[in-house]
């Protein structure tokens, strides 16, 4: 696939300073990162390390103070205007007055896609996340895990090549989270999307990623980038394997050296 080699996200010397009442806060400091097409990249680190902020910069929801960033060879703003990415938030953020089908239809309506095709895409994407038959339900009638799956279907509905996910399973219990991790992996294999995934769970990052970006706080920076490819046919069992434990150990060491476990910060 030619697209696989293409550089999707390119970040150079990027910094972001928030001006607060208590003075400036270095949310991101000298970030350098590149993400290739088809990769699954996780940002991991403790709270305050800027992982969500970095994702929001990629999505043009925050503006960097200095440095350069390109998404699909464009500025994040241009990429956003071209609807280059789908964004999945920490909460499902489904509009409560819309049915599940209505929620998935939302981006398609905004983008002016005709009704017949909307219907088609709603059905296709609900099937992709195993929610067929729930079209007419309202969000409150679904469990938290199902709601988050619907929000993934919504992000995929306009077929962006890039999927940005901000701790999408953070609010779910571990059993549901494991299940959704497996499903997400299958989805990624099937759709060939580039995924950028924010998490603070080491097993989740190791299980899902082709590349793990270990970040550390104050100021938010990249401590280490760990390659991680456990083969495409992974199941949850792989978490018992030595390779898995070895990478998980490296991530944990990286977090420790990045002072993530400092007493002062806990």
């Amino acid at each position: 696939m030619p697209q696989a080699a293409k550089n999707v996200i390119d970040v150079k010397d990027l910094s972001l300073v928030f001006e607060t009442n208590d003075g400036p806060v270095n949310a991101l400091s000298n970030i350098n990162l590149s993400v290739d097409g088809g990769e699954f990249v996780s940002f991991i680190g403790p709270s305050g390390c800027g992982k969500t902020t970095l994702l929001r910069v990629i999505a043009d929801l925050e503006q960097p103070t200095s440095g350069a960033i390109s998404v699909n060879g464009m500025t994040p703003s241009e990429a956003r205007q071209k609807r280059a990415y789908g964004y999945v938030f920490q909460a499902a953020a489904l509009y409560p007055w819309r049915t599940i089908a209505g929620n998935i239809s939302l981006p398609l309506e905004v983008m002016g896609i005709p009704k017949a095709e909307r219907k088609d895409r709603i059905a296709r994407n609900l099937e992709l996340v195993n929610l067929s038959g729930f079209e007419k339900k309202f969000p409150w009638q679904l469990s938290g895990g199902m709601q988050q799956r619907a929000s993934i279907a919504r992000a995929l509905s306009f077929d962006p090549h890039l999927l940005l996910m901000d701790e999408p399973f953070g609010a779910l219990d571990e059993i549901v989270r494991d299940h959704l991790n497996e499903e997400l992996l299958k989805l990624w294999a099937k759709t060939q999307k580039t995924v950028v995934f924010v998490t603070h769970s080491i097993p989740e990052a190791v299980f899902l990623s082709t590349k793990i970006v270990v970040m550390s706080p104050r100021p938010g920076r990249i401590h280490e980038v760990i390659d991680c490819n456990l083969g495409s046919e992974r199941t949850l069992d792989i978490r018992e394997s030595p390779e898995f434990l070895e990478i998980a150990h490296r991530v944990r060491e990286g977090l420790r050296h990045g002072h993530s476990y400092d007493q002062a910060h806990l």
């Binding site: 956003r80 509009y95 939302l106 905004v110 409150w140």
Partner: protein, 291 residues
Amino acid sequence: MNFVRNSVIPVGTVLIGILALWYVFTVILNAPFERDQAARANTTISTGQLIENTMAQERPVLPAPHQVAAEIRKTVFDISPTSKRSLVYHGWVTLSSTLLGFGLGTLLGILLAIAIVHSRTLDKSLMPWIITSQTVPILAIAPMIIVVLNAVNITGLLPKAMISTYLSFFPVAVGMVKGLRSPEIMYLDLMRTYNASKAQVFWKLRWPASMPYLFTSMKIAVAISLVGAIVGELPTGAVAGIGARLLAGSYYGQTVQIWAALIVAALMAAVLVSLIGLIATFVNRRMGVRA
């Protein structure tokens, strides 16, 4: 059965309590007049006779509920609605200006809220004036509105309706500003990731999110619209409308007529508020609100 247990019994109990109290006060407040009458005629009056008389006076201080009910029955059902003595006629006069004023006020309130939510300048400049407008006593400003509009040849329904509008735009404006700003940041960010236009954010997010606020403020607005319409009828010399009945009643000491008009006005307000509630329930159901 639930309706009986949840609504009829509690509301009915309070109603019976109010009626009982009302009868007690009817006797207490009207008794001095009966005693005076008896003293003037140099006769004594038995307690039973006294109580009976207090509930049958022509111009009582406080008419008994059944007197008011009889007056309402007479003026609502027995007299033709085209007659100037019919409460249906007067009720309709007031209702039409209430509804016109309420409609205009709701529209004005919504438009103001939209402007305020979309413009920081308007937020800073308009909001203080909107609040100030409600600190002016309506009784003082109502005659001014009528007089000024009469001077520019606007007469009839509209000047009265303007007073209802003046009162009712406020809760709608304040409620809708809050409602249109109610969507969480995440919902707004989501629209931003779709590169949605301001109009799309409005129609697909802000407007539906504001519906609960709209109906709550409309309930308040419709009730004060009615008050506004009645107040608006007073300075016009009171030709027609519930306000006219109240004024005429007080000129001639017709307390029964005043109370009948009061009760009818209260019932009208209750019906109007319930109607808004019904519409809200219908809209809620369509918007999938959890029953």
